[in-house]
């Protein structure tokens, strides 16, 4: 894995090569990642792996044209030639980042492979039990380092380390019970037992579900279930470029976009969350901002290019793909919130459930990624779900279908419990609690 100094030199070399090839301006992003993981499959530890990847992404401006290319470690001249060859007219006013150098370091030592194997073994053991099979899962840790250099004098370097685990179980039954859970850490060690016990509990409790026959009018979403739904609907809807093109339900829907007290805000960099680094991958300082407040749209996210193209603010989280397991800086930066908190009128978990009365509790769902990002319309099936009666669990149910729109969901939020980081390396990171929603249609499979 490359040092930050070596990455900086690599990025500077790519910028210099672009200038020699005729570019007036250039920006290079060099990234090196190392990952370490162990996997479970079919009730046994399956494999252990390690990997390292270093690559560089280059953008150039020549004669008012913007080009981009990325590639592995090697001479920078071919990369510069490819970027220039594909250059197209840039939006007027576009420029790479400028300013003084900065660094943001959040690196921790990776655990030794024996520790990773031991944690995976504990994950497996804790999720195994009478009638339970651990179908898959694993433990992984990784570190990324990156360096951004522009011909306008900006240099930014950063490091981050994290880990995650996931586990899936099935429980024997006439209809199998299914449970999934995951955990996440930023710099520390994983609580694998907590994830294992949660997955095992859901698998055991959801075996032989009864078909849902009388759909309730309220839903309580587990944070991970809601995260998958919002990831497919709210995140694209916050794109300033999509809003400018009227490809977001947040600009094509009349009236209030959310219920009273509902907000979607970016917390900015924060310890223990997905985004701890204080500049984005274009070198733009990253801080808190509002997206949805008091039922109205308060902001959007945009890359530098989209900002000048559509007349938007540049502040957002423009991210190239880098992460724990050797992904490189390929493609264009894409914009999204960093640490997105979606919140409603606050209550404790107990109060959320008590207020729910008779409700569908959705732990896992399938189909979220089939949502229509342009309209926010979705249709999903709650695959791990319970019926709540008088706020108390009243057994697992099957065949519960939830359909609606993003705005309908946000308008129906009644209460939300204390938000937590949803365990995922997806970007943006989401912070959610258990959320009680009404008026979101639940139907049943006949």
């Amino acid at each position: 894995m490359m040092t930050l100094d070596a990455l900086l030199a690599m990025a500077e070399g790519a910028v210099a090569a672009a200038r020699r090839a005729g570019a007036e301006e250039a920006e290079a992003f060099a990234c090196s990642s190392r990952g370490l993981a162990a996997e479970i499959e079919g009730g046994t530890l399956k494999s252990a792996s390690s990997g390292v990847e270093t690559a560089v992404g280059l953008r150039v401006l020549k004669d008012g044209r913007l080009g981009r290319a990325s590639g592995p470690v090697g001479p920078p001249e071919p990369l510069a030639r490819r970027a220039i060859a594909g250059a197209l007219p840039a939006p007027e006013g576009f420029a790479f980042g400028e300013g003084a150098g900065a660094t943001s370091r959040h690196e921790h030592p990776l655990p030794p492979v024996d520790d990773v194997v031991e944690e995976t073994h504990r994950l497996l053991e804790a999720a195994s039990g009478d009638g339970l099979t651990v179908t898959g899962g694993g433990v992984g840790y990784g570190t990324s380092r990156w360096a951004l250099v522009t011909s306008r004098g900006l240099t930014f370097t950063a490091t981050e380390t994290g880990g995650d685990c996931s586990v899936g179980c099935v429980a024997e039954g006439e209809v199998a019970g299914v449970g999934h859970a995951s955990a996440w850490t930023r710099g520390g060690r994983l609580d694998v037992e907590a994830a294992a016990h949660e997955a095992a509990r859901h698998a055991s409790e959801t075996r032989d579900p009864r078909p849902l026959t009388d759909p309730p009018e309220r839903i309580v979403f587990h944070p991970e279930a809601l995260a998958s739904l919002l990831g497919a609907t709210l995140l694209p809807a916050l794109s300033g470029a999509r809003q400018a093109r009227r490809e977001s339900p947040l600009v094509t829907t009349e009236g209030p976009l959310a219920g009273e007290g509902v907000r979607a805000v970016d917390l900015g960099p924060r310890a223990g969350t997905r985004h701890v680094v204080d500049h984005d991958d274009e070198g733009t300082p990253y801080g808190p901002r509002d997206y949805l407040v008091d039922g109205g749209l308060a902001g959007a996210v945009a890359t530098r290019e989209d900002a000048v193209r559509y007349g938007l603010d540049t502040v957002g989280w423009a991210q190239r793909v880098h992460g724990l397991h050797g992904r490189g800086p390929h493609g264009d930066p894409s914009a999204g919130p960093g640490n997105l908190l979606v919140d409603g009128p606050r209550a404790s978990v107990e109060e959320v459930r008590a207020e729910a009365g008779r409700a569908l509790y959705v732990r896992d769902l399938i189909g979220a990624h089939t949502a229509n990002a342009t309209t926010g319309r979705f249709a999903v099936e709650a695959t791990t779900a319970y019926l709540f009666e008088d706020g108390e669990p009243a057994g697992p149910v099957s065949g519960a279908l939830v359909g609606g729109t993003l705005v309908g969901l946000l308008q129906g939020v009644l209460l939300a419990s204390e938000p937590e980081v949803v365990p995922s390396w997806e970007s943006p990171g989401l912070l959610l609690g258990e959320v009680l929603v009404e008026r979101l249609p639940v139907t049943t499979r006949g």
Binding site: L45, G51, A371, T374
Partner: protein, 451 residues
């Protein structure tokens, strides 16, 4: 570069090993009617070395293909396996690997990467030329060259180059936000998407968009459903194909686990996963373990017939390897994956099928789908849905989603039209992303919910 000599000394403790170099080059081109245009090139190199030591798998990957890096990765793979071995409950025994050699390419007559970016942009601009100003439109082109080499313990030394091309056209009605899209392409080059085909796709999408803007709610009555070839293919992939991936079968995560030889569908249901089905987007000649690829019948006339295998899953189930191991890139381990999953044609003419369907819901295209493989429930979202009577469209249906259970749906396939066709290109995610194709005939069923 990768050779047997560069890794085999370090891999001496392994009872089985393989090393795979994957150099993938992509070019993506975007044109929007709003004026935005982009061309982006990427090149990704990785070498994954895998070692089986004391019944445990170790994998190490590197981003360099020089002798020192390869030897280091080989040593790391052995170290990873040794670290895992004491904790493995069921040691893997795999001593015989493939002995395949040679070059196994799937290349078009003309390399699409030879075309200048300006030509690609012009093609996409022309594709959107007929789009009216009330519609926001984008066209994307993706070119992909996969250049791989695999060397293995038993003497395998294979190389392959595969070129794939995908094109998507997406339209959004600015006033209502209603959207619709088209996907074209496959394994090959521009012969798959000549300009007239692209223009026709845009024209067809515009017609669909006009209908969808006027869409109404789904009827409350329970109606039969006629699924178009593209969505039938997605059904075959999601509802059947994933459950027939042998790693999920072995993991206890498939409803097909104990059903080989069992009837699970009607006589109209025959599904095969075929890496040789050209120009399907998931085609390949040799898999990422150096096994020659071949068709894999999954369901024949309603009866489960087999699974998609890696070397390990084939050994554990006592089946023949069938070239189904694929990896996302040179950092990842191969696992059983689909290629081109086809629901083959059935017994009916299209006229017979429509006559039998009567008043029905016709669903077309796909926005994707997902399946719970253990319990066999699925959820798909079509691009378009229509209420149809006597073969005539009455109106579009707003926001339709399909859900059901796999077995009930397979057992309720009443008719399949005689000829199947490939749908558009897709990327399948199972922790790793790989290119896939799928397709089928028109299918009439009463076993799915549309809502």
């Amino acid at each position: 570069m990768l050779s047997r000599a560069s890794v085999e000394d370090s891999l001496a403790p392994a009872t089985y090993w393989d090393a795979r170099l994957d150099a993938t080059t992509t070019r993506s081109v975007l044109v929007r009617t709003s004026g935005e245009e982009k061309v982006s090139d990427t090149a990704v190199l990785g070498v994954a070395v895998r070692a089986l030591v004391d019944g445990a798998w170790g994998l190490a990957s590197t981003d360099r293909a020089d002798e020192a890096a390869l030897a280091e990765a080989a040593g790391d793979a052995v170290a990873m396996a040794r670290a895992l071995a004491p904790r493995v409950r069921e040691p893997v025994t795999l001593t015989d690997g493939p002995v395949t050699t040679g070059q196994h390419d799937l290349l078009p007559k003309r390399d699409p990467f030879e075309l200048e970016p300006a030509s690609l942009l012009a093609l996409l601009r022309e594709t959107l030329a007929a789009v009216p100003s009330r519609v926001e439109a984008s066209a994307r082109l993706g070119l992909r060259l996969e250049d791989k080499r695999v060397v293995g313990a038993s003497g395998a030394d294979v190389a392959s180059k595969v070129v794939r091309l995908s094109c998507s056209i997406d339209l959004t009605d600015k006033a209502s936000g209603t959207s619709v899209g088209r996907r074209l392409g496959g394994t090959g080059g521009f012969e798959l998407v000549p300009p007239d085909v692209l223009s026709s796709a845009t024209a067809s999408a515009l017609v669909a968009l006009e209908r969808l803007v006027q869409a109404k709610a789904a009827p409350r009555e329970k109606l039969p459903v006629v699924i178009d070839p593209e969505l039938t293919g997605v059904f075959a992939h999601e509802a059947v194909g994933h459950g027939c991936e042998a790693d999920l079968v072995l993991a206890g995560d498939s409803l097909f686990a104990d059903r080989v030889g069992e009837r699970v569908g009607t006589e109209e249901v025959t599904i095969v996963d075929d890496p040789g089905r050209l120009p399907g987007f998931g085609a390949f000649a040799v898999d990422d373990e150096a096994t020659l690829a071949r068709p894999r019948p999954l369901v024949e006339r309603g009866v489960v017939t087999g699974f998609i295998h890696s070397l390990e899953t084939a050994a554990r189930l006592g089946h023949e390897p069938n070239g189904g191991a694929r990896a996302q890139d040179g950092q990842s381990e191969p696992m059983p994956r689909m290629s081109n999953t086809m629901f083959l044609g059935g017994s009916a003419t299209e006229d017979e099928l429509w006559e039998e369907a009567g008043r029905c819901i016709h669903v077309l295209g796909t926005r994707g789908g997902q399946v719970d493989t253990a319990r066999g429930t699925f959820q798909f979202t079509p691009q378009e849905a229509y209420l149809v009577e006597e073969g005539e469209i009455l109106h579009a249906i707003r926001g339709a989603g399909l859900s059901g259970t796999v077995l009930r749906t397979l057992k309720s396939v009443e008719l399949a039209s005689k000829t199947e066709s490939l749908g558009g290109p897709g990327m399948c995610g199972k922790g790793q992303w790989v290119p896939v194709g799928d397709g089928g005939p028109l299918v009439l069923t009463r076993g799915v919910e549309v809502g």
